[in-house]
């Protein structure tokens, strides 16, 4: 499979993992290994002195690049501060920008997200914004200097798959930066579809970490992303209304 390139950095895996929802660091570690991921998100939270083990140790051991997110932020100001704290704590200027509109849907707030993206780009960050499946917003964020765009397939953790494949295709057609399908993936066919639609990568967490067997689902996702990418590159046959014989019709 060809490399994924984000902001000049190469990744041989097109599956980006999240770390939320795993029952333990051991389960997470096994799932990350099985997924083959080279880029994985973490959240920033108040330090808990009682916490044992760190997700950072797991990522370091596996040689996986860390992508801090701004999960939990509701305003551009919160997100910018969280990104700056992540840069300070983790030594990376990459950030998955996530500004949530409300707790019931966890849908991204486009106004706050755009505001934060402009401020973070100006501050030298490599910004990967999580957005709705909105082609116009995706284009505006690319113009603002974002390194990728991350449209959702469906709400976070919903496992509803890609609710508007047409919009994802529109985003892909217009994008000059990588398009990463983020959120909503439920099972392997959803990940394959994202890649068949032309997305450059898939980001998922819950579909693996809350599967009954996370490491097995991680393997399925790795294979699905690969299969979807190859199918996209192969060029699928057109859909037809009626049959087209594949064997000669004359005896």
């Amino acid at each position: 499979m060809d490399d994924l390139i984000i902001a000049g950095e190469k990744f041989s895996s097109r599956l980006i993992m999240g770390t939320g929802g795993a029952p333990s660091l051991e389960v997470l570690d096994q799932a990350l290994a099985a997924s083959g991921t080279e880029l994985t998100t973490v959240a920033m939270r108040r330090l808990d002195p009682a916490a044992r083990g760190s997700v950072l140790d797991v990522l370091r051991e596996r040689g996986i690049k860390v992508l801090p997110n701004t999960a939990g932020c509701f305003t551009a100001g919160d997100a910018v501060l969280t990104a700056r704290l992540a840069r300070e704590a983790l030594g990376t200027a990459w950030v998955k920008l996530e500004v949530i509109a409300d707790e019931r849907t966890l849908l991204p707030d486009p106004i706050e997200t755009f505001d934060a993206a402009e401020r973070l780009v100006a501050d030298g960050f490599t910004v990967l914004p999580y957005i709705g499946d909105d082609p116009a917003l995706a284009r505006r964020l690319e113009q603002a200097g974002c390194a990728a765009v991350m449209p959702l397939g469906a709400p976070i953790g919903s496992g509803l798959g890609i609710r508007n494949p047409h919009n994802i295709e529109l985003i892909v057609e217009a994008a000059g930066v990588p398009v990463i399908l983020d959120a909503g993936i439920g099972t392997a066919s959803d990940a394959a579809l994202a890649m068949e639609l032309g997305c450059d990568a898939v980001l998922l967490a819950t579909a693996v970490t809350r599967a009954q067997r996370p490491d097995v689902m991680a393997t399925a996702m790795r294979e699905a992303v690969r299969a979807g990418r190859l199918a996209r590159q192969a060029g699928r046959i057109p859909r037809r209304r009626y049959a087209e014989a594949s064997s000669p019709m004359t005896p």
Binding site: T41, R45, A86
Partner: protein
Amino acid sequence: MKLLINGSPHDVPDGMTVAQAVQTLTTATTGVAVAVNDEVVTRGSWETTALRDSDRVEVLTAVQGG
């Protein structure tokens, strides 16, 4: 003086530094970042930054998420 460290009230000696405030929670100095009153204090300034009464100190680290 009184500080809020990660949301909890603390009664501490005057002139406590950011480094000392962090040490009330952890001995780690990597993978940790500090904001005082919503402004980042870089690691290199922890020892020399004195806190003031009523400061809000946030000490963050990376956790599973996203």
